[in-house]
């Protein structure tokens, strides 16, 4: 019987690729998405489209409003999303305090309750926006916590945290997505949440450059920046 795996699904290219990877690995995916007060709630439409595309029967959406205390351009509508270009040396204002930590905590609860042996997530430490909660050492610390936090952990069966993209460049992620047959056009990455991706926020810039560099300019949100 296929092993169940919780897959964190944001609607973006990375998490869609991770979903496809989980399926390719033979797992039975349980999709988990979040309405967390994000400005780009448009991404949840892409989640629904991916769920339909992959015919996923086992899905959850959790509402947890991190916008109550703001602290990020992604959850505070009064803060502008930066559009001036990616600076790899600073943590940008789109960083949402605690976001991945909250998402993984909820995923652990779900995984334990549903007997899932793995949690797949699309974090990436290379071509990303400098977020601290996307690094391998963060993930290792979380895996250690999961072993101590739960009944299944005490029994030696804590879910593995599987981040297949963590060391990939964005170009490598695009190549993997194409190889796995991910419907890239259904995914949505723009931080601004506009009906048509803006092309100038960090997420659009990183995505578009990688699509072009991987030989798929036709999939970029704008033809040229």
């Amino acid at each position: 019987m296929a092993q169940r795996a919780v897959v964190l699904l944001s609607g973006g290219l990375d998490s869609a690729t991770v979903l496809a990877q989980a399926i390719a690995d033979g797992a039975e995916p349980i999709a988990l998405s979040f309405a967390y007060g994000q400005r780009h709630v448009r991404e949840l439409e892409s989640v629904d489209q991916l769920i339909a595309h992959y015919h996923l029967a086992h899905t959850y959406r959790v509402t947890v409003d991190l916008s109550q205390w703001g602290g990020s351009a992604l959850t505070d509508a009064t803060q502008p999303v930066p559009v001036g270009g990616v600076n790899p040396n600073i943590i940008p204002s789109t960083y949402v305090p605690g976001r991945n930590t909250v998402f993984l905590a909820i995923a652990l609860s779900l995984a334990e309750s549903q007997g899932a042996s793995a949690i797949y997530l699309g974090i990436n430490a290379v071509d990303y926006s400098g977020y601290p909660d996307c690094r391998p050492e963060y993930l290792a610390a979380y895996e250690r916590l999961a072993q101590l936090a739960s009944r299944v952990g005490l029994e030696g069966r804590a879910p593995r945290l599987v981040a297949p993209l963590i060391q990939d460049s964005k170009v490598e992620i695009v190549r993997r997505a194409v190889q796995l047959g991910v419907p890239i056009a259904l995914t949505y990455s723009c931080y601004q949440g506009l009906p048509q991706p803006c092309g100038v926020c960090d997420a659009c810039r990183i995505r578009d450059r990688a699509l072009r560099d991987a030989g798929h300019p036709e999939l970029a949100t704008v033809l040229e920046i």
Copy 2:
């Protein structure tokens, strides 16, 4: 200026005592409570009464529905709450997978956004119900994670996790509560969530025995079990 501290407030005796301790420590408390689909949502009335009693101006309540996937007698109304007595050798069915991990993750998000330097929580590893996420090694692993998870952590300013009751017996907690002037009668611990505490669930039994042993039988929910 007083240092801000997020205080996880459940409405029970332990978290009320921790709130009083945070105030005694000179912190400016930010109360954080959760509607997580708990059967004993009655406890949130006690949270409100404690907030009023202590005139707390800075409070948050987060809704995050962990009952979507059940897995616990506290979040699944079809499972009975055990009432046969405390067995310290097993993890009881009132264990909620991932609960403290979720609560602390959300507290970290709040703490970082509000510049709080500490998170106070009432977990206890002695007279408790055998939950894995109430042990010192769990807390130490979470503190390590917090240092890696956040912008403030990278800057060496991750909030401390303060669990002043973790090594106390329940009798010692009652004594500390009395000493700090906690309005014990306002607190509510019953897992069943009845208007009048049941007196026979683990939470009632542990609480009542400690109140009697500490010399305060008049505060016990039932006169004799």
